[in-house]
Symmetry: C2
Subunit: 472 residues, 2 copies
């Protein structure tokens, strides 16, 4: 019936109804999707708290002066900006004729949160007296980016960041890696690898290759593609980027280093022996690996990838990402140490290391792979209403169930019992209680298990005990 009306609405332009939709790249989460998301997020939150991370939330809107200049030219372009309100916009509005293109920024004063790192660095600067360092915080909130939406990429999406602010200790980096290991395992991923490298090793490679340090970025970008384009591809890429033959000849053998993590570290130590920064990077990685032993992490899951660069230029030390290998679904988390960013608003360095979990991707992938138990409803019982005479008793039974903490619906539309059963079935409510004239007289209820189809008559007093003894 509803659908029919919608068709009418479409057919009749004069009715002036808006056909409702959500903005491109945004989603509604109906109860079933909410339960799916909660299943994943509850596991993640619980692991985060086990590791001593504590929750933080920041406003969805930030002053443009806080956001601007932080995300590069591309990011600037993707920011959602908010029109000034009230008198400020009226004032600007009346002068609008004089405005030229670039003055459009005068119309806006706020932006939607673009990531969780800039808000964290703002918070660290604003609450120096309230926050004790090291500050281990997690934040799970939406961010907005005006990207072109495509499968798995949204304009409003949740990020989950865990960061440790105010410690230079490699234990903090090791904890982040263990955290990721534990979360992925608990979510049910089995065949995954955590790839580790260190920006300092990359700097060491640049030093060793004797090219201009300006060329360092080109080298990192080129070798980061090894996975995709192979060693010959990297050779071409390096030459295309005007890296000399001589330098390329020094770099390529590094990419062919393989074997156990220990062997890789030994080989690269030998090559970078004369680079102080490279050596420091190697020591940091060794230290992290030793903590992995203490934390009991399966070494098979850790690989040192000397060519891993990760895009964000703000990393300064260890970098890491996790990759699910079977099925091949790519990277689910990424992070690293970024000692120069958090002090942004303070004008000083504060060491920090952290990881982002791609939770939208994790939820999408787990849904596709059927890794999330299907929960259609959290309601356990529907108490039906047989007729006006039994209604009062039905409501009393519902009251008792609710008081015992059992999620209970009451049939709101008194109708044939059959229709009420159809409703329970559609909503996949697992139990239905019937109180008809017979039950009323006997002080009993009929309890139907909608999954097995079993049905029994039990006393009203025993009903609640039946549910409390059920496994959750």
């Amino acid at each position: 019936m509803l659908t029919k009306t919608l068709v009418n609405v479409h057919g009749d332009r004069e009715m002036n109804y808006v056909k409702p939709s959500v903005p491109k790249g945004t989603r509604d989460f109906l109860p079933e999707q909410m339960y799916r998301r909660q299943f994943v997020l509850d596991i993640i939150k619980s692991k985060l708290e086990t590791y001593g991370y504590e929750p933080l939330e920041t406003p969805s809107i930030e002053k443009l002066e806080v956001l601007s200049g932080k995300y590069g030219e591309e990011g600037e372009h993707l920011l959602f900006k908010i029109l000034k309100r009230g008198s400020s916009i009226e004032k600007v509005g009346s002068e609008l004729k004089e405005y030229t293109v670039h003055r459009i920024d005068e119309l806006v004063d706020l932006g939607l949160r673009y990531d969780l790192t800039v808000p964290l660095s703002r918070v660290v600067a604003m609450y120096q007296n309230e926050i004790t360092l090291p500050f281990k915080r997690y934040q799970i909130q939406p961010v907005w980016r005006g990207d072109r939406p495509q499968k798995g990429r949204y304009r409003e999406f949740f990020q989950c960041d865990a960061d440790t602010v105010g410690s230079s200790s490699m234990i903090a980096d090791a904890e982040n890696i263990c955290l990721i290991h534990d979360i992925l395992s608990e979510l049910g991923f089995d065949k995954f690898k955590i790839r580790i490298n260190n920006r300092k090793i990359l700097l060491g490679i640049v030093e060793y290759s004797d090219v201009d340090s300006e060329k360092g970025v080109d080298i990192c970008v080129a070798i980061d593609k090894l996975d995709k384009i192979g060693i010959d591809g990297v050779r071409k890429e390096l030459l295309n980027r005007n890296i000399s033959e001589a330098a390329t000849r020094k770099i390529l053998p590094i990419l062919e280093i393989n074997g156990t993590n220990e062997k890789i570290l030994a080989d690269i130590s030998y090559i970078l022996a004369s680079s102080a920064v490279g050596t420091q990077g190697i020591e940091e990685i060794s230290e992290i690996l030793s903590y992995m032993d203490d934390f009991g992490i399966d070494k098979q899951k850790l690989t040192i990838d000397l060519y891993l660069a990760r895009g964000l230029s703000y990393y300064t030390g260890p970098i890491y990402e996790s990759v699910v290998e079977e099925p091949r679904i790519g990277s689910l988390t990424g992070g690293g140490r970024y000692d120069e960013l958090i002090g942004l608003f303070l004008g000083q360095s504060i060491p920090a290391t952290g990881t982002t979990l791609g939770i939208e991707r994790i939820i999408d992938v787990m849904t596709e792979l059927d890794m999330i138990p299907e929960i259609k409803t959290r309601t356990t019982v529907l108490v039906t209403i047989f007729d006006e005479n039994t209604k009062s008793l039905s409501l009393r039974i519902a009251r008792d169930l609710r008081r015992a903490g059992i999620n209970t619906e009451v049939s709101l539309n008194i109708s044939q019992l059959k229709k009420q059963f159809i409703y329970a079935n559609k909503k996949q409510i697992p139990f239905v209680v019937v109180i008809g004239p017979e039950e009323l007289e006997q002080g009993a209820v009929t309890l139907k298990d909608m999954i097995s189809g079993d049905q029994e008559r039990i006393s009203q007093d025993n009903l609640i005990h039946r549910f409390i003894s059920l496994p959750k």
Copy 2:
């Protein structure tokens, strides 16, 4: 040290650091505030689910065409509007010289969520095949309003709505009222009242007073002020609003009706006997009251207030609000039946009834009244690191605690033990584990209870059992 640097930053304009702040009327929630909010929200969510309400979330951004025309002129003014992005804005931008004041709306295409009701009605229209009616949903998400911020009023604040869509049954209204009763009780409020009235009774009063039905709003506005301005005030207000002496003489005695709910209903029934709509309103209230008996709600907490009007013009039936009387903190929740609004996007009526919980106000009030247990951290243990020799064992102990689900921090900055204790104390972490050379040798740990000051040496094996046997 941090503070000193901030001072430097301020003193030196050339350094070009932005002094960070949040937009007017928005707030950061540090862990301690998060725990306070979670305490309140967890109780509310759990009660909502007990009543069979299910979670829904919608995007923070909505198309302006969905939002506009829904909130009246004032609301329109308070909407946060978002600048178009990318090519659309560049296109508009290049034509900007020609724009006049009112064309400013051409620059924006999206708005921030203003309430949770319009998104619900959009959802009901968009997912007719997915949603089974009656649909009982709750939604706890932020909304944005460019109001003048003041104590307790924010520009970004959470709303919590519970609505039942698709049922005309008064059981649905009764459930909302019981839900509010249960939530307020569970949160620890004792002396509160739930005020009930029915828009149909107000319509009946208008009919009975023989004034033009256009004047109905004036009458409602005037009598709604009874609490604040008294009966003489209402008399003046009515006359000021050009309600005739004769009508005023009919209306005022109605406001003096008092006594038990039953007596009030009997008196008003007699007066409105000739008004069909008024009589229907009275019958609805009586029906709700009878369900209150079944649901076991303390009748002392329910009062029929014939002058309660509630502002929102979209209510069509029962209306209700809760008021805490001791201490006098006013209204915490409000709601009612609104059968014409939810079908907005469908062009048809869909019955609906719901309630809003003023959760920001509830949290603020409970904080002021010290009704929320202070939780400074959820971390249970700090495992200290004595020196390089014991570090590995400390990490292993932390691993074991975490694996047992005990929230554990490890000291990240190896320093004097004393400093590590100061850190635990500052963060109010209740237990500290020490593993020094002696403990290392004995296979033991020293466990210090930071609250009692007690300290004991126990075997490493027994440590976890100590925590598991602790009351949560």
